[in-house]
């Protein structure tokens, strides 16, 4: 009985290690392959180099479009995050506090971007806002504003879920009432109590939004073709080794962003905060 149990445990441990190993292969083999390929930019093409050739990376960094498109997409991404937070946090907060029955409706609305393809969304927006009386795309600023609005819609599923999970982790009603009893109005409550305690959740949503916006192609290509997504697409069409280098750089930036979230979201003095309730 005992030896049979130990045998089963041993098999389970072996199986677990196999799954971990396969997972590592699944995640890292493409990265290693892409890295290896990005270092082959020596003549003759497609032959292994005697020493790694970093010219694909040098070319990428030397390309002014890389920085301009990346900067543009980051600015659009950060603006999207700000607008999205300004819309989602008060909405999710109010629904949790005063209209819990509306939660399924709001959840359904925020899921619509999963149902409606981005190409449908972008054509709809262009048709409506490219003719009077709502001729917004006539100016560059108008187009970028519309792009941000489209990305805000695209970010809804991620941002709403992250913020809602953050609100679920704190006793919203009691914290609100505590602040109210001390004389605070709604703006003060949102700014001083709710937003600071949603920091980690908001950062998670913000990161997902940034990741989506920076690499987004369909909407960006039609509304502002000078973003990072369209640039990546063009690069893939015109160059051989640079797309692999750029994808690795993007991967590095992603990890950097995750590290920032992990650091900033640790709470005061590196300890997780207790949001409310007895200890």
């Amino acid at each position: 009985m005992s030896s049979a149990g130990e045998g089963r445990r041993g098999f389970g441990a072996w199986w677990a290690w196999l799954v971990v190993f396969l997972g590592i292969l699944y995640f890292f083999v493409p990265l290693i392959a892409a890295a290896e390929f990005s270092l082959r930019a020596c003549a003759p093409p497609n032959q292994p180099c005697s020493t790694p050739d970093f010219s694909a990376y040098a070319n990428t960094f030397a390309d002014s479009q890389f920085f301009s498109t990346l900067t543009f997409s980051f600015v659009v991404g950060l603006t999207t995050i700000a607008v999205s937070l300004l819309i989602i946090v008060p909405t999710a907060y109010w629904v949790r506090l005063r209209m819990p029955r509306l939660r399924p409706v709001v959840e359904f609305i925020t899921l619509l971007p999963f149902v409606i393809p981005p190409v449908v969304l972008v054509f709809g927006l262009i048709r409506i806002y490219s003719r009077p009386p709502l001729l917004i795309t006539a100016t560059n600023l108008g187009s970028v504003g519309l792009l941000v609005a489209a990305y805000v819609v695209l970010s809804f599923p991620y941002m709403y879920r992250a913020v809602d999970a953050g609100l679920a982790a704190m006793d919203v009603r009691v914290l609100t009432e505590a602040a109210q009893s001390m004389g605070a109005g709604w703006r003060k409550i949102l700014w001083s109590v709710i937003f600071p305690n949603l920091r980690t959740a908001a950062l998670s949503g913000a990161f997902l939004t940034l990741a989506i916006v920076v690499g987004e192609f369909t909407i960006g290509n039609y509304m502002a073709p000078y973003g990072f997504g369209p640039y990546l697409s063009l690069l893939g069409r015109d160059k051989i080794f640079e797309p692999a280098a750029v994808s690795l750089i993007s991967f590095g930036l992603t990890w950097l962003a995750m590290a920032v979230i992990a650091l900033v979201g640790r709470g005061p003095r590196g300890t997780r905060v207790q949001v409310a309730g007895a200890r």
Partner: protein
């Protein structure tokens, strides 16, 4: 004129009546507790005073000002919550300073007041800590300081000690009372713990099913309950079913035994009544003068430290008049102080339980409430 006045307060949630006919006048500096079981409307009433719920009808006045429709952040009412509700992103000092900063108090005044309150709650060196770095009792003291910081007109406490363990609860309730007396702030305290309500309050409002059952001092509530609910909810109580033998002579039959009471009650012979008796009034000691007694058999004995609780099945003993000694009797519970010389009876032993003739209350008779009011007046 009273400081906090609730007049004809009613609160409905759809068809459900949470609070009805609630009238209360509390004086400046008075400590009033709302006591009752879960769902009796005590927290709803407190939330109406705070402004978090709107009464369906009735008015709430604080120091003569009608605040019934005033927003909670404009009432100048401090509140302490069961779950502390400290802001986790702020230090202890920032939590205490919150109400003052909302009121745009000068920073030196804020610092001074925070230091005063930290001293008051005996946490002078914890200002820079975060709530999660404090124990539950310390967090609740901070919550109390935070609610007092902006000098509210009324302090509301919603079961503030429920989440704490027994020892801290007793220590903290004494601190709360001491601070309240020191500041002289009108306080409303919600609890389902009778010991808390009786030990803290100037007056207790006992509530049941949205109604006020009785308002009185702890002494009145405990010794002269106005209704059967108050009698059974406050303190431990033996309730024995009986019937009136002769109301004019105070005679009631319980399981075939007749007891004589001096408290007034009315009713016809044979009318069913319930007799309520506190365990501490009953004794196994022979007390012939001014006492009446029941005979029964010891059902069990429980050691409770300073007390020994004895349960006696009355009506089945040989001394029971009219009883045949075989049918199980009703149970009377009594407490004896534990002392080295205490003779603890054995289970099954026949004993007599004596109690003062003016001790028990007769419930379910028409004249009962009147007699209680008379007794309170006499007391």
């Amino acid at each position: 004129m009273s400081y906090l006045v609730l007049t004809d307060i009613q609160k409905r949630f759809g068809d459900f009546v949470a609070v009805e006919n609630f009238n209360l006048s509390a004086e400046r500096g008075e400590f009033v507790s709302f006591l009752g079981p879960s769902g009796c409307g005590k927290t709803t009433t407190l939330r109406m005073i705070a402004g978090f719920e709107q009464p369906t009808s009735g008015t709430i006045r604080i120091d003569g000002r009608d605040v019934t429709r005033v927003a909670p952040n404009r009432r100048n009412v401090g509140m302490v919550f069961q779950s502390y509700a400290l802001f986790p992103n702020m230090t202890v000092a920032d939590n205490i300073a919150f109400g003052l900063k909302v009121r745009k108090a000068p920073s030196d005044q804020v610092r001074k007041r925070v230091a005063e309150l930290l001293e008051l709650i005996n946490l002078p060196d914890r200002g820079n800590r975060y709530p999660y770095q404090l124990s539950g009792g310390q967090q609740q003291r901070v919550a109390l300081a935070r609610a007092l910081a902006f000098e509210p007109q009324v302090l509301l406490l919603d079961e503030p000690l429920s989440a704490l363990d027994a020892k801290i609860r007793v220590a903290l309730r004494n601190e709360i009372r001491q601070i309240q007396r020191q500041l002289g702030i009108t306080t409303v305290y919600v609890t389902h713990d009778q010991e808390e309500a009786l030990s803290l309050s100037d007056r207790v409002v006992v509530m049941s099913e949205g109604r006020m059952e009785q308002v009185g001092t702890p002494f009145e509530i405990y010794n002269f309950p106005a209704t059967a609910f108050v009698a059974s909810f406050v303190g431990t109580l033996n309730v024995l079913n009986g019937s009136i033998v002769d109301a004019s002579r105070g005679e009631i039959a319980i399981d075939g035994q007749t007891i004589t009471l001096t408290r007034k009650f009315e009713g016809r012979p044979g009318q069913p009544v319930r007799v309520a008796l506190r365990p501490e009034m009953a004794s196994l000691a022979d007390r012939p003068e001014g006492c009446t007694r029941l005979v029964g058999q010891v059902a069990d004995v429980t050691f409770l430290g300073s007390l020994v609780r004895i349960r006696i099945a009355v009506g089945a003993g040989p001394g029971a008049s009219g009883g045949n000694g075989s049918e199980p009797g009703q149970v009377v519970m009594l407490d004896e102080f534990n002392e080295p010389g205490l003779q603890v009876p054995e289970v099954g032993q026949t004993v007599s339980v004596s109690f003062p003739m003016d001790g028990p209350l007769v419930l379910d008779t028409e004249a009962q409430v009147e007699s209680v009011e008379e007794l309170i007046a006499e007391a």
